[in-house]
């Protein structure tokens, strides 16, 4: 914080940099959103409500949100574990594992979707044994969640990792010398410290899951009202030249995502109130 303030005073150029920032954000982020809002505005409230409460649309919302929540829950656990391992332990191949974490960002999501579908299809490597146990993953909401979890894996790891690295070992030693057990040290000392970053990571992962398209459509099966996600429904409406419907669904997803992000920011600020670094 202090660094940013000093930098602003030491380095000139607040005017041009801020101007460029606002211009770019307007062009790339704000303008499409405004266009979307205008398009949605054209259709009127009654029509809008009519569209987004249609059974197929509601079902797509439900499928998307449920799968996104499940995927976020998976990544919250696994991401925390991965970050812990990468920070706390030294092992051969650590750098490789570290690099591997970012792979979902680099891989075209469609490739991920096709690979996952091949694996989890009833005749795939994982799908066959699971099918024998009566568990079906591909073409079910569970498959959607797995695809979402794959593409949003890096978020929790990459936000928690640096904060975890900052936890001084002596804070844990202090807790241990007060008589705290290992799980108490984690629950009462370490976890509260990384909580803001953890919330941020989970939110980003959740937001990404809501918008995931490429990876999901291959594994989802895309049965209307069963395994059809909102993003796909928007795409379908566009292909049908039904722009008002596409805009209505899209703006609803947008508002939901915005609310989630704002809520998370607020939560994060709350839990961070007193966590500023003390020497």
């Amino acid at each position: 914080m202090a660094g940013a303030l000093t930098a602003r005073r030491v380095l000139p150029g607040f005017g041009p940099t801020m101007g460029l920032t606002l211009f770019y954000l307007s062009l790339v982020v704000l303008l499409p959103i405004v266009a979307l809002a205008l398009k949605t505005g054209e259709i009127g409230l009654a029509r809008y409500l009519d569209i987004i409460t249609g059974p197929r649309v509601l079902a797509s919302f439900r499928v998307t949100v449920t799968a996104a929540l499940l995927a976020t829950a998976i990544n919250a656990g696994i991401g925390l574990l991965l970050a812990w391992n990468l920070v706390r332990y030294d092992f051969p191949g650590k750098r490789l594992l570290d690099a591997l974490i970012d792979l979902p960002f680099a891989l075209p999501t469609a490739v991920a979707g096709i690979a996952l579908t091949a694996l989890f299809a009833p005749n795939g490597w994982f799908g066959a044994p699971l099918a024998a146990m009566g568990i079906k993953i591909a073409y079910t909401p569970l498959g959607i969640a797995i695809a979402m979890a794959f593409t949003s894996l890096p978020f929790v790891v990459r936000t928690v990792q640096p904060v975890l690295e900052d936890v001084r070992p002596e804070v844990e030693e202090a807790a241990a010398s007060r008589g705290a057990r290992a799980w108490q040290i984690f629950r009462k000392v370490i976890f509260p410290t990384i909580l803001p970053a953890f919330i941020a990571g989970c939110t980003l992962a959740f937001a990404r899951c809501l918008g995931e398209f490429g990876a999901v459509i291959f594994i989802a099966g895309n049965l209307p009202e069963q395994t059809e996600i909102a993003a796909l429904l928007i795409f379908i409406r566009l292909e049908e030249y039904d722009y008002p419907a596409a805009a209505a669904i899209a703006s609803t997803v947008l508002v939901a995502a915005l609310v989630v992000l704002l809520l998370a920011n607020w939560l994060q600020a709350r839990s961070q109130r007193h966590s500023e670094k003390t020497p």
């Binding site: 001084r168 010398s177 003390t278």
Partner: protein
């Protein structure tokens, strides 16, 4: 609670941190582990605490071996140099932590926790700041919170690792005296680590001087300062002039300097190193004197004077009380005759005096 350390050794890779430490600390003592960085003092403290394990040797608390016990079981209060407070907790919760993490059966009732924490906060004079967060406190206040947190579990031993190292000079001094009073009040066996000789000498009942993983000397502040057992201790406990000399029949034959008292003349003869504290050097103006004043520094309670002997082999540092200096009215370039009020003799180390005057000067001002 007494502490018995026997044969403690510890290596980190090729580095020997501790090399056969034997030390007995009596119940209720206030002990300083004093030494330069790398002397092993912090490692020794961490071994007593159970935060580090010795490669060999035994740590006994009240005669009971604790090497098998973890830090959690030893019931030791440990204070870290950088406080290590839980920054997401209030001052109150920081102090209460040790009580709250106890198993349910042993945990005091909430009312008792509140009462005990409040009493501790009053003890460290932070009674009004219970609901603050560590980030809202000054360094000195944070360290007192850390101390209260360490005391909350009724520790059998209190260990402090460079407790005042991160504080500024004024606060450090206040806190030092305050810790002494607190120790006298509580009587808890206390061991603290420091590299500041002034801190060790002022605060401790007994000072343990460490160097390179070994104990160099143990004794009261007066005895380690007054009778350093070897050159290392002598040099570590204050500024020193090292002078190559020759002793015959209990007298300094060379250089031609008067010494009022040789502290250990019986032990040693022949080629020696004379160790003289700058405040034991007296200077008298004398046109026939063997040395010349080269520098005069008048800041501080003592006036610091450097004199260079004519043969260029010896640069001497003297600290003279301001009043005496006024009477002397010395000036740079004037000839003087130095005299030592007392000197301590040590066997000459190989290569000790193969130094040019500049290096001798550095040695005498830095050590």
């Amino acid at each position: 609670m007494s502490i018995d350390l026997t044969g403690i050794s510890k290596r980190f890779g090729a580095f020997t941190a501790l090399d056969g430490i034997d030390l007995r600390i009596g119940s209720g003592e206030l002990i300083a582990l004093l030494g330069p960085s790398g002397s092993g003092k912090t490692t020794l403290l961490r071994i007593i605490a159970g935060l580090e394990w010795p490669d060999s040797g035994d740590v006994k608390l009240d005669g009971e071996s604790t090497v098998e016990h973890s830090v959690r079981e030893r019931q030791i209060g440990f204070v870290f140099q950088h406080y290590a407070l839980f920054r997401h907790m209030t001052v109150f919760e920081n102090v209460a932590f040790g009580l709250r993490v106890r198993p349910r059966r042993e945990r005091p009732a909430e009312a008792e926790i509140v009462e005990r924490v409040q009493r501790l906060l009053d003890l460290v004079q932070l009674g009004g700041l219970a609901q603050r967060y560590p980030s809202q406190l000054s360094g000195g206040q944070r360290q007192r919170v850390a101390l209260a947190r360490a005391l909350a579990i009724d520790p059998r031993v209190l260990l402090l690792d460079e407790p005042f190292g991160a504080l500024d000079a004024k606060v450090r001094k206040d806190l030092r005296r305050w810790l002494r009073r607190l120790h006298d009040q509580l009587g808890t066996t206390t061991v603290f680590v420091t590299h500041d000789q002034e801190e060790a000498l002022e605060l401790a009942d007994r000072v343990v001087v460490m160097g390179q993983g070994r104990i160099e000397q143990t004794g009261s502040p007066a005895s380690v300062y007054g009778q350093p057992s070897n050159p290392f201790v002598y040099k570590f406990l204050g500024n020193v002039n090292e002078i190559a000399g020759r002793i015959e029949g209990g007298k300094v034959v060379s250089p031609a300097i008067e010494v009022d008292a040789l502290e250990n003349e019986d032990d040693i003869a022949g080629d020696v190193a004379l160790f003289v504290r700058p405040h034991d050097v007296r200077l008298a103006p004398d046109p026939q004197g063997p040395a010349t004043v080269r520098f005069i520094g008048v800041a501080g309670p003592f006036v610091r004077v450097e004199v260079l002997f004519d043969d260029q082999a010896l640069l001497l540092e003297a600290e003279i009380p301001r009043e005496d200096f006024a009477d002397l009215s010395l000036a740079v370039g004037e000839r003087v005759r130095p005299r030592f009020r007392r000197a301590r003799l040590f066997a000459r180390q190989p290569g000790q005096f193969d130094l040019n005057p500049e290096q001798v000067s550095l040695l005498s001002s830095n050590l």
